[in-house]
Every structure is written in C-alpha cells, then in structure tokens.
C-alpha cells in the first residue's frame, strides 16, 4: 500500500538527490556533453568565489538573527498568552494570521512599508520628528538583509508561538505551585521551571525556524528582486543556486552549491542541538 508514495519518492526525491552528487562533479550547461571535472567545482567554490563566501556569511547571519529573535519572541508571547482566555485566544489568532499569507504577498506588503519615498515606516519616523531614522531600507547594503530578517520574524513568530504554547501547557501545574510556595519570583519560575521544561520544544522551534530561514528565497525574490539585493547583500544559498542554475546555466556548479547549502544547514542544526541539549540532560 505504500507503493505509490514509494515510487514517487524514489523517482523524484531520492534518485535526483543521488544524481545531484554526480552533477556536482561536472562542468555542464545541461545541453551539450558534460565534462567531468572531479572536485574542481568544490575547490573553485572554496578558493576562488567571493560571492560564495558572501552568500555563506549572509545565510549564517540571516539564520542566526531569525532563529534568535523568532525563538525568543515566540517564547515570550507564549508565556504571556499561555492561559486560555478570550483575550489571549483572540491575540493568538491575530499573531498567527501572517502564517497563512503567501510569502509573495508578505514580500509585497513589506516592499511598501520599507519604501524610501512612500513607505509607512519612513512616514512614521518623519511624523514623530525622527527623520534621520528614515532609511532606504531595502536599497542599502547595510540594512537590506536585516530588513528581510525582520519581515521573516514578523511572518512566522505566531506559528512558533503556537508550538511553544502547546509545549508550555504540558508543564505540570504543580511545579509552578511548588515554586510559588518557595517564594520564587516570576523570573525565577521562568528560569527554573519554564525554560528547562520547555527545552525540547525550544529545540524543535529552532530546528524548524532554521529550515524556514533557508527557505526565505521567496521573500528575497520579491523584496530585493533579481539582483539579490544591493551588491548581493541579500544573497543566500537558495537564491545563489537559483541564479547559477537559471541565469548562468552552470548546472554542475549549482549542484555543488546545493551540497554546501545542505552541509551548512546540518552544521547549524547540529550546533544548536549541542549547545542546548547538553544543558537539558543535566
């Protein structure tokens, strides 16, 4: 009974994934005969490609920022909204709302908000008498990546908050009652009960957010468009692979880039597990 799923998976998931390894050893435009170049794509990427290093740096910075802020905010709002009342449920529904929008729609909305001339953000800063805060958010090399990271956090914090709430509601109430009897402050309760008990959820949230941040492709395509930002400042792995494949028709080189993309993703997830699960086991 698993046959249809298995056939699709083998033919269009596993087989291409293995084929990708072979493609990565070629110099190839996908049309003419491929030329076998061994590991030269990999060595080229590592020794002779500034854009690759810029992309790697951007991707790590972007993922790091999004994971830190999205996880922290999701946990904060989950703690604030963990009890089921009319107000908290209404707020949860509102916070979750951006998740159902398409990333193209979200990108368009923020394209307007960030617009240097007409955007609501600059209008806001000018109207409260802080015109120096009115920047060219997406058009400047220094702010474009942060602007997109902010949008990404806006987009998915509500979703991760709900994951946290599900986790927090499973913490036994007795633990809090005991802490209160001992006279523990709210902050103490958080550090001694909530945080350690929610650590498994934190790991799930961080892993999920990391994968999500690697998929910010859509936002970048809409918000900083085909140039991947001023001076490639918003180039991340998925946009890099896409442009290498589509604009330059270098299939082998793009395949090698995807391998580095997956390695980076695995490395980040592994580091998170190491950094947090150690403390959890103690």
């Amino acid at each position: 009974m698993g046959a249809p799923a298995l056939i699709l998976f083998l033919a269009f998931y596993l087989y291409p994934a293995l084929q990708n390894l072979q493609f990565a050893t070629r110099r190839w435009d996908g049309i003419t005969e491929p030329e076998n170049v061994g590991f030269r794509n990999f060595t080229n990427l590592l020794t002779n490609d500034d854009l690759f290093y810029k992309t790697l740096g951007n991707n790590i910075e972007f993922t790091f920022l999004v994971v830190i802020f999205q996880t922290a905010l999701a946990l904060l709002f989950a703690v604030y909204l963990v009890k089921n009342t009319k107000t908290t449920i209404a707020l949860r529904t509102l916070y979750f709302f951006p998740t159902i929008l398409s990333s193209v729609s979200v990108g368009m909305i923020w394209l307007f908000l960030y617009d240097p001339n007409f955007g609501a953000i600059n209008l806001f800063f000018k109207s409260i008498g802080l015109p120096s805060f009115a920047l060219n958010w997406l058009g400047s090399e220094t702010s474009a990546l942060y602007a997109i990271a902010f949008t990404q956090v806006w987009f998915h914090t509500g979703q991760m908050m709900v994951v946290y709430i599900a986790g927090l509601q499973q913490i036994p109430k007795e633990l809090y009652e005991a802490a209160e009897v001992d006279g523990a402050s709210r902050w103490k309760q958080f550090t001694k009960v909530t945080w350690p008990m929610a650590l498994p959820t934190t790991l799930v949230v961080m892993a999920y957010t990391t994968i999500q941040s690697f998929r910010a492709f859509d936002l970048i395509m809409v918000m900083t468009n085909s140039t991947a930002g001023p001076n490639n400042s918003t180039s991340i792995f998925s946009t890099l692979v896409y442009f290498t494949l589509f604009n330059e028709l270098r299939l082998g080189y793009a395949a090698a880039q995807t391998i580095f993309m997956v390695l980076t993703l695995i490395a980040i997830t592994w580091l998170q597990r190491r950094a947090f699960s150690g403390r959890y086991e103690k």
Binding site: M1, G2, P4, A5, L6, L8, F9, F12, Y13, Y15, P16, A17, Q19, N20, F23, G30, F77, Y80, T93, L94, Y95, F96, F97, T99, I100, L101, S102, S103, V104, S105, M108, I109, W110, F112, L113, F118, A120, W154, T157, Q159, M160, V163, R186, A207, I211, F214, R215, D218, M221, V222, S238, V241, Y242, L245, L251, A254, A255, T258, M261, V262
Partner: protein, 271 residues
C-alpha cells in the same frame, strides 16, 4: 507591576505590527496611489472597486487563480491519498518493509527538497514536464509526502491495535481495514494535514518558478511576482493583487481558525 506593563506593551506592539499593515492593504486596495502614499491609514475618499476591475481586465491573475486552484486541489488530494496509504502500511506492518519505508521517508524529512533543484530542473526538461501542471503536481506531491507521512503515521499508530486486529480476525483485507477503520478514525488528522498541504501548495513560489515559464500556465505566486515587476510603481494595484491572492485563505482562516492553527503546527508539534 513591571511584568504587567511590559506584557501589555509587548502584546499591543506586536498586535499593531500585524493590524496596521493589514489595514493599509485592505484600505489601499480601494484607494488611488496618491491616497496610499500620503495617508496610508485613512479611509478611501471614494469606496469603489476600480482597482479590482482594472486587475481583472489588465492582468492574467484570473487565469493564474484558476491554475492555482487546479494544481493545489489535485496535489493535496493525491498527497493525502498516497501519504495515508503509506502511513497505514508503516503503522500496521511491523515487518522489515514498514521499517524500511519509515526510514526512507525520515531521510526525506531531514534533507530539504531544495537540494534537488538542479537534477529536478534537468530531469523535468528531459521528460517534458516543464510548463506542465502534471510536472508541478508531481513535484508538489513528492516534496510534501515525507512530512505528511510523518504526521499521519503518528495518528495511525494511536488507533488502538484491538481495532485493527478485530477486523483482521473477521477476515478483512488490509485495503478494507484501511478504508473502513483507519481512514474514518483519522479524519481530524487528515483534516489538519490537508490544511497544512493546502497552504504550502497554494503559496509555493520556488518550484513553479523553476518549472513554469508560459504565462498561461503560471500559478498565482508566480503571476504575482511578474505582476510586481510590472506594477512596482503602483502600490494600490499591488495591494489589490495581495487581496485577491490572500482572500481564499483569509476567509477559510476566519471560519476554521482552530483547524488552521492545528494543521500548520502539526508538523512541528509532532516532531
């Protein structure tokens, strides 16, 4: 006291961060550009549907809307069917084959489908599956199978063994047990998974961008991206497009908040 006031401040700030942009979009779709730029939060001077009429007559978004419905509904239906069958097999077959299946799909869960951008692009061109709804549906179903199987297997395992065994004693075939026991009992899980799949497929940009070039085959996010290129100077028109593209989801969300929230976090919570 400090806890209370920071709590209220933080909650209200984030609420405003979501409400204000949403209002700007809703109101903006009824405004002229000048009104959007000067007074983004004021009510439109004339409530009319001019932008919507212009959108319908000038753009291909209506075609893209139909394409998206077709591709999304077919993809979701096929994924649910194949994933539930495979999950049933995994949950019921304690034999080697069940374990092999589970391991294979777990591998798919760990490795993001993006790694296949290059080979899929090449393979689909050779098979004539670019600019084709069938190609897009194949890739939609394949990339969402691992997560769907992951969610559904957990639910099929929760159905008590006695239920299965009783019917097997009665001589029912696995297909019968699947149809008359597993499926009806897992309706909530199937509902949650289908919402999850619906949102993912409806909103996906990456694969259509890779596989579809012909304008008449474009899905909604893809057509929106092209539209953004044409109308980048007119935010009132962009907002109108955002409204049209988001409305089906928003309406469903308003009526089925609980199922939406459950569905869109099922993958993460079950993990």
């Amino acid at each position: 006291m400090i806890f209370k006031s920071t709590r209220i401040f933080a909650l209200l700030t984030f609420a405003a961060l979501i409400l204000v942009p949403s209002l700007i979009v809703v109101l903006g779709s009824f405004k002229t550009d000048a009104e959007v730029y000067n007074k983004p939060l004021s009510l439109p001077e004339n409530w009319n549907f001019d932008n919507y009429r212009r959108l319908l007559s000038e753009s291909d978004l209506d075609v893209a809307f139909r394409n998206s419905i077709m591709v999304t509904v077919t993809s979701v239906a096929l994924t649910l069917l194949f994933a539930s069958m495979a999950s049933f097999a995994i949950a019921r077959m304690i034999t080697i084959s069940g374990k092999v299946l589970a391991t294979l799909f777990a591998f798919g869960l760990a490795i993001p489908a993006q790694i296949n951008l290059v080979p899929v692009y090449y393979m689909f061109q050779k098979l004539g599956l670019t600019n084709s709804f069938i190609g897009l549906i194949i890739i939609n179903v394949t990339t969402t199978l691992p997560i769907s199987i992951f969610i559904l297997t957990a639910f099929f395992r929760e159905i008590s063994k006695d239920m299965y065994e009783a019917s097997e004693v009665d001589g029912a075939s696995p297909l019968r047990v699947y149809r008359s026991i597993a499926l009806p009992l897992s309706r909530p899980a199937m509902g949650a998974t289908s919402i999850f799949l619906f949102v993912i497929n409806w909103n996906d940009l990456l694969w259509p961008l890779l596989l579809i070039q012909q304008p008449e085959k474009k899905t909604l996010p893809l057509a929106m991206l092209a539209y953004r290129g044409e109308y980048f100077v007119s935010f009132s028109m962009l907002f109108t497009a955002v409204m049209v593209a988001s409305l089906p989801m928003v309406i469903m969300y308003l009526f089925m908040q609980r199922s939406f929230i459950a569905g869109l976090t099922a993958g993460a919570v079950k993990g």
